[in-house]
């Protein structure tokens, strides 16, 4: 089944079936659905159980994030970036802070960089834990792996709460560093959580990796070829599972990632199983980075002393800052005209870009596979719709 031989889907208001063909069934896996990870709609045309065409419809969570940013200051936009990809608020903050620092030429002290790396990798851990839990839930394991994953995620969220004050909407980064320094005892607690994490990963692997049902449902399902991944701009674990060796931490050398030794897992088949396993392996690598960072964190200031909170006016210009968020390449493009508010603010959402190939992945598969494939793409509607 090739996307090129199927005519393009019409506008949203028209039905997708052609009455001339055989009895095709069009269902709407609609905005309210137990496993579409948010308000996301897919118009699926089925021939029996096989998918003939699939059209994703989103925009149900559009909140005018980019337009709002033009009417608040640069700092005022920071809490809104928390709510983009609401599972990984700290990495969203980091991407935005990086873009503004590029725009205004602000430097970040060393301790702040270490704090950023620690919080960023903790975010990656809890996001991947959440994802593999939900992938199993969507495939029908009534909640057991989900509960185990969330048990670990809660420990990390408790760490975030004692550092930033909130579990998910952290609002932690500032331009030139971080907002607040580590409270007493936080580093020891974080080290304990990080030391316990591999045990959970082992438990998970024992529960799932050689489980025949899981392998049957995820191997050779939703295969994304390397060429399509590169030409569609896929980034993050989804691209790495198809064999594309592109990790922005290694490519851009942003922040202080050069100081840590970590490997980047690559898959070869590009199916759902590979995406699942790449994320599991990435979690192990993140644990390694965290262990190195928590050992080596120096003392010092946590924010650039020259930065002031109010009255921040960067010089006119433009900048694009990007980071390797847990979902892919998260980029922020800013155009400044010298005023306290940005002139144009654009987010490059990895979930949206990764979602554009959903139809290619699902053609010819069963309805049950759609859910597994969607789960493995790892979308968060806050980011897709902004």
């Amino acid at each position: 089944m090739n996307i090129a031989t199927v005519p393009p889907a019409p506008l949203d208001s028209e039905p997708v079936t052609e009455p001339s063909k055989e009895q095709l069934l069009e269902i709407s896996m609609g905005p309210q659905h137990p496993s579409t990870h948010g308000v996301f709609r897919m118009k699926v045309v089925l021939d029996g159980e096989r998918v003939v065409r699939l059209k994703p419809v989103f925009g149900y969570l559009h909140r005018n994030h980019e337009k709002i940013a033009e009417s608040v200051t640069y700092l005022g936009s920071m809490p809104y970036t928390d709510r983009l990809d609401y599972m990984c608020s700290i990495t969203n903050n980091w991407g935005y802070a990086l873009a503004v620092e590029k725009l205004a030429g602000i430097e970040v002290p060393e301790r702040a960089e270490y704090l950023r790396v620690i919080c960023g990798e903790l975010t990656r851990l809890q996001n991947h834990a959440c994802l593999i839990g939900f992938l199993m839930q969507d495939m029908g394991s009534t909640g057991t792996p989900l509960m185990y994953a969330f048990r670990e995620r809660e420990k990390i969220l408790d760490l975030f709460e004692s550092l930033t004050g909130a579990r998910m909407m952290c609002n932690y980064m500032r331009f030139g560093g971080c907002r607040v320094d580590l409270p007493a005892g936080w580093l020891d607690r974080a080290k304990k959580v990080i030391a316990d994490f591999p045990r959970f990963l082992d438990e998970y692997e024992r529960l799932l990796v050689s489980n025949e049902i899981l392998m049957d449902r995820t191997q050779e399902v939703g295969v994304l070829s390397r060429e399509l991944a590169v030409s569609a701009g896929i980034s993050g674990p989804m691209a790495r599972a198809s064999g594309v060796d592109y990790d922005i931490r290694k490519v851009d050398h942003y922040s202080i990632y050069d100081r840590f030794t970590f490997r980047v897992p690559l898959g070869s088949h590009g199916d759902v199983y590979d995406r699942f396993m790449v994320r599991l392996l990435e979690m192990r690598e993140s644990v390694g980075i965290l262990q190195q960072a928590t050992r080596a964190i120096p003392a010092g200031p946590i924010v650039d002393p020259k930065m002031k909170i109010r009255g921040f006016r960067p010089k006119p210009g433009e900048a694009y800052g990007r980071i390797e968020s847990p979902k892919g390449e998260l980029g922020f493009y800013l155009i400044s005209d010298g005023s306290p508010n940005p002139y144009r603010y654009r987010v490059r959402p990895p979930s949206l870009i990764n979602l554009t190939v959903l139809e290619d992945l699902c053609l010819g598969r069963n309805v049950a596979d759609i859910v597994a494939i969607l789960g493995s793409v790892d979308i968060v509607l806050g980011e897709v719709d902004r």
């Binding site: 608040v72 005022g76 057991t144 609002n171 799932l208 990796v209 050689s210």
Partner: protein, 206 residues
């Protein structure tokens, strides 16, 4: 780690052993039964948690001791614009005795507030801080969630109770500033006394 399986079902049996371990473990170890049965049990309150803002007042009288001087910086910096302040026409003395404006109206709409804490960061007078109270549900969707000046005012003792380290640091800083102010005032008073003492002498000599 990724051992091969021979029989159909071997991986399944391993998975079932894992579940059984969790089942029996939930009766013996706390780690395998992580539920906190709210509202009978509560988690320990984390100190730096933030819910919605409140106004701090010193002393016993909330109107007299309120630290807010209606500078309206928090209103300008608030990203979703949930703070509404009306400055008063007259002035009242603050903790240092200096007459300051005060807010005649200070409303925060907590259905709009996103707990970002920027108002706390920009306040130069440590007048607005973040509360930890989350049981704010009401059946009046609009009026019940619009907190006025009186509902927002809570005493400094309450602030010390919910955020001890922060409150201690704020108190120390304010006390230091007050001491500096008093020292400056005393030095200025001594200087005027000195010049006053010199003046009549020079006046009398003429």
């Amino acid at each position: 780690m990724y051992g091969g399986t021979e029989l159909v079902g071997e991986g399944i049996l391993k998975g079932m052993a894992e579940t059984a371990r969790n089942f029996f473990g939930s009766f013996v170890s706390k780690d395998r039964l992580t539920t906190v049965q709210y509202p009978e049990e509560r988690e320990l309150q984390i100190e730096v948690a933030r819910d919605f803002p409140f106004l701090v007042y010193d002393g016993a009288d909330w109107q007299q001791g309120m630290r807010c001087v209606a500078c309206q910086i928090c209103e300008k910096e608030c990203p979703p614009k949930c703070i509404f302040i009306e400055k008063s026409k007259d002035k009242k003395p603050d903790a240092n005795g200096k007459p300051q404006f005060y807010p005649a109206v200070f409303d925060i709409d907590i259905s709009v507030c996103m707990s970002c804490q920027i108002c706390v960061e920009v306040c130069p007078f440590d007048a607005i801080k973040m509360d930890v109270d989350y049981s704010l549900s009401t059946d009046d969707r609009f009026g019940g969630l619009l907190l006025n000046k009186q509902r927002l005012s809570k005493s400094n003792d309450y602030y010390r109770k919910i955020h001890p380290t922060e409150a201690a640091e704020v108190d120390a800083r304010l006390a230091g500033e007050r001491a500096r102010q008093e020292a400056k005032a005393k030095a200025a008073a001594e200087a005027t006394l000195a010049t006053a003492a010199v003046q009549p002498a020079s006046g009398e000599s003429r």
